[in-house]
Symmetry: C2
Subunit: 309 residues, 2 copies
Amino acid sequence: MAKILALTGGVGGAKLALGLSKILGPEEVMFAVNVGDDFEHLGLHISPDIDSLTYALSGENNQELGWGRAGETWQFIETLGGLGGEAWFRLGDKDLALHMRRAQLLKDNKTLTQATAEIAAHMGIKHTMAPISDDPIRTMVNTANGELAFQHYFVREQCKPAVTGFRFEGIEQAKINPAIKAWLQDCDGVIICPSNPFVSVAPILQVPGFKQAIAHLPIIAVSPIVAGMALKGPAAKMMQELQIPTTAKAIADQYEGLINGFVLDETDAQSIGDLTLPAIATQSVMVTLEDRVGLARECIRFLDTLQSK
Amino acid sequence: MAKILALTGGVGGAKLALGLSKILGPEEVMFAVNVGDDFEHLGLHISPDIDSLTYALSGENNQELGWGRAGETWQFIETLGGLGGEAWFRLGDKDLALHMRRAQLLKDNKTLTQATAEIAAHMGIKHTMAPISDDPIRTMVNTANGELAFQHYFVREQCKPAVTGFRFEGIEQAKINPAIKAWLQDCDGVIICPSNPFVSVAPILQVPGFKQAIAHLPIIAVSPIVAGMALKGPAAKMMQELQIPTTAKAIADQYEGLINGFVLDETDAQSIGDLTLPAIATQSVMVTLEDRVGLARECIRFLDTLQSK
């Protein structure tokens, strides 16, 4: 296996991405990142999934919090709240610098891809983190309380409103990032990292032409649901609200017709019999760096067995 | 003496302003603030002189640094520099919140006066801090190296280039703040705080119609030059470069025809004989709050004696 495209959303996906980056070089793996969570806030362009990956790959992720940047402080946001400003989105002092830098680069007519590369270079990241598109895609969450922009649902409302569906504003007009298109010319396989299928992976897959562009490749997905629970984020809650069983199998079903193999956690090994496609069970809960690298190795090995496709 | 307008620039002027605010209520003193130092930076509107006054009046000024906000940290600007962003203007994490809040208020079509009032209210300030104008005035410094925007001269170049003159961009079109105009309807006197006459006070005085609007009032100025030195900032260096003696008398000469009385420091008491207008010598170096209140009291007493004008 020589050249992989890994699709990734937030913190969970970024863990496997880090594992992949430790065993595959920048010429061997590229990360295609969700931008549906992006939003404009306080005059800044915030790309939470790109940032989660940036902090993970640079070793700057905040391990205590499980999100955001290491060594973070909160003087800015606390002061802003005291002045009557919008403080619901917890921008750390260091994290804010990244958003400000990105805003300046975008203002200087750089694309999101270029801005991401410029920031990555300053953070010592060698691998390419490619937003799935440089065009705006904005995840809108349909809820019992009406439609909410993703961050309003996710952060401001703390995922409380019951979800009824999703809409990806702008996705019909979005073009696949040219860097990803070029990578797919001689790509050998795709790994869907353990990210939320509804709000992290779907806004990648639904970019016009993307599914067709990867259809000829072996594609595996790693379940973000383990033992009926989401390790992080609202995936399980969403599944309940959407009347979908909160199982690894239900995740595989979401990708039916697209994926050729499925990776589930060893605690869900008994579900393999329910699946109609090749699957492996392995330790997918990633606590240490070794866990991340181990899962990455398993994924590549598995993908290799599917190469015959 | 019932109603005073105090003209003020940066940190030096703000010290006397604080003293005045301790002995005069919000109906008795209004502060007219220089905006020539203002600039747009990182998508924010920064008003250094309004901010110095805001921090002074709210007790939030940084006493260790002598500028900026108390309890400040620098995570944002250090991180921004590490990402290749512009870090020459040292924005503290807390200070940044104020600029961000102001930027949002201006974006919501508030005037600078309204934005200042909104921030002041959140910081517990009862007195009115009125920018001399809501229209943009931008101090440009003519130097041996060419013309520099004020903050480029002051912060980025650390006042190193020799000054040859000044230009206040936009001042011909600037209208006096309506709140100041209204205050002047029944104002009893004007105090020019110990601020730089060239770059803090001149861009207030030269707003079209302002000198005429105060001409009928008793006006005193407090020397920012003590014993041949500026207590803060580049006033003395500028005077040398402009071939002006670095004396309190030379400051009085800058205001010739406008002021009716002059306040100099007790160490310069011997200069009173050189002046052709009423003057007092008093302790003008303000280290403690008592010093600030003491000088404020002296100024008001002195202004009272000039009321007959």
